[in-house]
């Protein structure tokens, strides 16, 4: 990489609306939802035979702003800008990158904070329960709208990785290759437990009001606490030790009160407050529940064991210090894919940052993803 300042990649948030009544989308639960809007962004150019599409699936609280800037003046790039762009591992000079905000979120796509056309008011808790399967089904509408029949590669971490796996299970004919990162086929009891504590923090905030808080003060405190809990699960013992240790915040001695002596307390409070400013509490409830419901091994066998998946090339990545989606869960995915005869590569990256490692710049991950995509593009 040269130090030469490259011109900023400017992207635009776009919207796609579909499933207009009476043709609503039928959800996993049997409920009908429509119209549905998905916010999405694209980088690079779709080639003539529409074979260079790369779909990025974002995690729980992410958004469509995956890379680039909204304007020349914009100082903050998208959330995976180190991975995606011209000359980067997901090279937008060669690939057409798509990222959409998930169904149920609040970053431009339809979710509980959207207006319910039947009442003219935000859905709140009238919003139907959506699952990972529903999120993927909605994305399929968008992909078809873009004229793409087969995605060259799809990648995502965490809840984004669940969407990757769901795509493979539900629409294998549309997937050429897949990179599930730091993810699982089903939440562990531990992961569900942390999500439930986060949800209870929101629902026990008096301002939550059964989800009908729009237009008034929201459950800000509950949402901040939920984020603080989430944040702990994204880090690791080692990363917290090296980042904070027992350091005190702006003081040299204990204050003997509850205003937060430790740096780690101050950090979590800051993260909580920052999150409240950008995210809707109900969306967090719905999306965490969707993560908990996700289970590719429920019922009659593992959904990844399917001959229709055998053409998909997989690259599975986990991180050594991730205790939210530990390596054994990635290895279980790999083991299943081997049994069904898929072409699968796997690497556990040694990283100390816990679950968050998948979003950190990492040379090893760059190599893996860059090399894998290069190979897939040549196999096309």
């Amino acid at each position: 990489m040269s130090d030469k300042k490259l011109p900023k990649v400017v992207v635009e948030k776009k919207y796609f609306t579909f499933a207009e009544p009476p043709n609503e989308m039928v959800l996993d639960s049997g409920a009908r939802l429509g119209p549905i809007t998905l916010a999405y962004e694209t980088l690079g150019r779709l080639n003539e035979d529409k074979s260079n599409g790369v779909l990025i699936l974002h995690a729980c609280t992410g958004d469509s702003h995956v890379a680039g800037y909204y304007s020349e003046e914009d100082q903050r790039p998208g959330w995976w800008d180190n991975m995606i762009g011209p000359g980067k591992p997901v090279d937008t000079n060669r690939f057409f990158v798509i990222c959409s905000n998930i169904l149920g979120s609040c970053m431009g796509s339809t979710g509980p904070s959207s207006i319910n056309p039947k009442t003219g008011k935000p859905y709140g808790f009238d919003f139907p329960m959506v699952t990972i399967k529903d999120m993927v089904k909605a994305q399929k509408y968008l992909i078809e709208h873009l004229g793409i029949k087969k995605i060259m590669s799809m990648l995502g971490g965490s809840v984004g990785g669940m969407q990757v796996l769901r795509w493979c299970a539900d629409y294998p004919e549309m997937v050429r290759s897949a990179i599930p990162i730091a993810t699982t086929t089903r939440h562990s009891a531990q992961a569900i437990a942390f999500n439930e504590v986060a949800r209870q923090a929101i629902m026990s905030d008096p301002n939550w009001k059964g989800g009908s808080y729009y237009g008034g003060p929201g459950p800000d405190h509950g949402l901040a606490v939920a984020r603080m809990i989430g944040h702990v699960t994204y880090l690791s013992d080692e990363s917290m030790r090296s980042k904070f240790g027992r350091k005190l915040q702006n003081r040299t001695a204990f204050s003997y009160d509850f205003n937060g002596d430790f740096e780690v307390e101050s950090y979590l409070r800051y993260q909580g407050a920052k999150f409240v400013a950008r995210f809707d509490a109900n969306s967090l409830l719905y999306i965490t529940k969707a993560g908990d419901y996700f289970d590719l091994e429920r019922g009659d066998g593992n959904l990844l064991v399917n001959d229709n998946l055998s053409h998909i090339r997989f690259l599975v990545i986990s991180f050594s210090s991730d205790w939210l989606y530990p390596t054994y869960q990635s290895k279980a995915i790999v083991s299943t894919l081997k049994k069904s005869g898929s072409d699968v590569s796997f690497c556990e990256i040694d990283a100390r940052w816990g679950h968050d490692a998948f979003l950190m710049p990492n040379e090893q991950m760059d190599k893996l993803i860059g090399g894998f995509l290069d190979r897939i593009s040549h196999e096309c």
Binding site: K331, K338, K339, V344, S345, F346, C347, I349, Q364, G371
Partner: protein
């Protein structure tokens, strides 16, 4: 050396021999594939469908960066997932001497692959024998460079012993070659007589009878 083998020029001589045994377009599993030199060669020159298993993260990353299909893990555990006869060839090069239970592993490899190719350093080589006999020391050679206290090589194998094992286990020896290597094992030649005494490595292709 022709253009085809040029890619392998800097590769261990035993791998060059093994590569020559692999038929084009076949499905290959390389156990302990390292940086993937053999798989890379086989994929480019023989269009094989290759998979490697390797323990080291950095080597796995290097392989995937090169466009190979490689899994990080201990192949002694990883092989169990594969359905019967998933591969035409399973390659175990210079690792047999580090295996805890070769008697269990080799039949398992013959379950997932139609043929298994093994190469191993020959403890029957005259230099090894001479060291024990004349100096009274456990042998340290180019092929077996470790002291007794730090060696990963927990199995002492000679070409003669391995063949005896195959007879006992009812495994057919489909092909064999003994080689003598030099220059960090990158060059070598084939040994045709008194192999157990003169060869530094044995390379054998195994299959089940019938």
């Amino acid at each position: 050396m022709n253009a085809e083998t040029e890619l392998l020029e800097n590769t261990r001589f035993d791998l060059q021999v093994i590569a020559s045994w692999i038929s084009p377009g076949s499905r290959v599993l390389d156990l302990g594939c390292g940086n993937g030199d053999l798989l890379y060669y086989l994929q480019r020159e023989k269009q094989v469908h290759g998979t490697g298993i390797e323990l080291s993260e950095s080597k796995v990353a290097r392989c995937i960066e090169r466009g190979l299909t490689v899994l990080q893990g201990d192949f002694q555990e990883e092989v169990h997932d594969y359905p019967d006869l998933s591969f035409d060839f399973v390659i175990l090069s210079q690792t047999l001497q580090q295996i805890m239970e070769p008697k269990k592993l080799i039949p398992e490899l013959l379950r997932v692959g139609r043929r298994v190719i093994v190469s191993f350093p020959n403890f029957g080589h005259w230099l090894v024998r001479a060291q024990v006999l004349f100096t009274g020391h456990a042998p340290v050679t180019d092929q077996l460079p470790y002291e007794w206290y730090d060696t990963p090589n927990i199995r002492v194998i000679t070409i003669k012993d391995f063949k005896r094992f195959l007879r006992m286990a009812g495994i057919r020896l489909a092909r064999e070659v003994a080689i003598n290597t030099h220059h960090h094992d990158r060059e070598g030649h084939i040994v045709t007589y008194l192999t157990n005494l003169r060869a530094t490595y044995g390379i054998m292709m195994l299959e089940l009878p019938g």
